[in-house]
């Protein structure tokens, strides 16, 4: 894939990729922007190379999920080891929602985000990929790095839990 093709395809995915980055960063907008920039950098400089084994969208989402995990790990390391910031650079993201830059949420979306926050990380990931990004469960399994059976279980249990939580919050 030529650099121009890569940029074009990334541009087409940009809005959904940002949504996925938001989900990976607990809906912290500045953290999501940072993760998305780091992911694009990996894709543009060739550190993450698309080999055609999955769809391009699945591949990009996988890169974003891995980058978000790396950023979280670095933030944890920076907090726990003195002088680690010398090697890792200044802290950009700590994974926690930043009230100043958080999304201005309507009641319904605030309820949804609150309910998603009470699910397990895997359930949250799979539900987001299926309902928000319109991926199939098989594609969501590839992005989340789990088997199809595991993704199905997370999907069914997560959906039931989400429905219960949304009902509880609306009462």
């Amino acid at each position: 894939m030529s650099p121009a093709d890569l940029t074009d395809q990334l541009e087409q995915l940009h809005v959904t990729a940002f949504g996925w980055a938001l989900s990976c960063c607990g809906w912290d907008r500045s953290a999501a922007e940072d993760v998305l920039q780091a992911s694009y950098l990996k894709l543009l400089d060739g550190r993450a190379r698309f080999d055609g084994r999955s769809s391009f969208r699945t591949f990009v989402f996988g890169v974003i999920a891995r980058t978000a995990r790396e950023v979280r790990r670095r933030a944890t390391l920076r907090r726990s080891i003195p002088l680690a910031s010398l090697l890792l650079g200044p802290e950009a993201v700590d994974g926690r929602p930043d009230p100043a830059t958080a999304l201005a949420r309507a009641d319904e979306t605030a309820r949804l985000i609150g309910a998603l926050g009470r699910l397990s990380a895997r359930q949250r990931q799979v539900l987001h990929l299926v309902f928000y990004e319109d991926l199939t469960i098989a594609e969501a399994a590839v992005v989340a790095g789990v088997s199809l059976g595991t993704a199905r279980t997370h999907y069914e249990r997560g959906k039931a839990a989400l429905k219960r939580l949304l009902e509880e919050e609306s009462e």
Binding site: G19, R29, L86, A106, T109, L112, I113, K159, L166
Partner: protein, 115 residues
């Protein structure tokens, strides 16, 4: 969960997607910021690595030149030192001294009439 419930969840996610779309930064600015990081990240990493190396070298030099609280090297005459293991007592047998001395046989022992 039936299709109606699925529809309800999907609607909630669609509302979330609409809000997220409104706050999505432009693609061009995201790529520009990513490319700007490209130049900064290696420099920052190299600087950090250099700082850690300097600290490590300073620590090594300090350890190798430190001569202890009295300023000199502590010399030990090994010929005068007898090291005793903490478990040496396990090797001592009851009546061990009998094995280290030679019993004396002869008139003196017979006079005692110990038999």
């Amino acid at each position: 969960m039936n299709e109606r419930d699925d529809h309800h969840v999907k609607q909630a996610f669609e509302a979330l997607r609409r809000e997220a779309t409104e706050v999505t930064p432009p693609f061009a600015s995201t790529v520009a910021a990513a490319r700007a990081r490209q130049g900064v990240a290696p420099r920052r990493g190299a600087l950090g690595l250099a700082a850690v190396l300097v600290l490590a070298i300073v620590a090594m030099v300090a350890v190798s030149t430190w001569r202890g609280p009295r300023g000199g090297r502590l010399e030990v005459d090994l010929a005068t030192v007898r090291w005793q293991a903490p478990t040496d007592f396990l090797l001592k047998l009851p009546g061990d001294e009998l094995l280290r001395s030679v019993p004396q046989l002869g008139p003196r022992s017979a006079d005692r009439r110990t038999l």
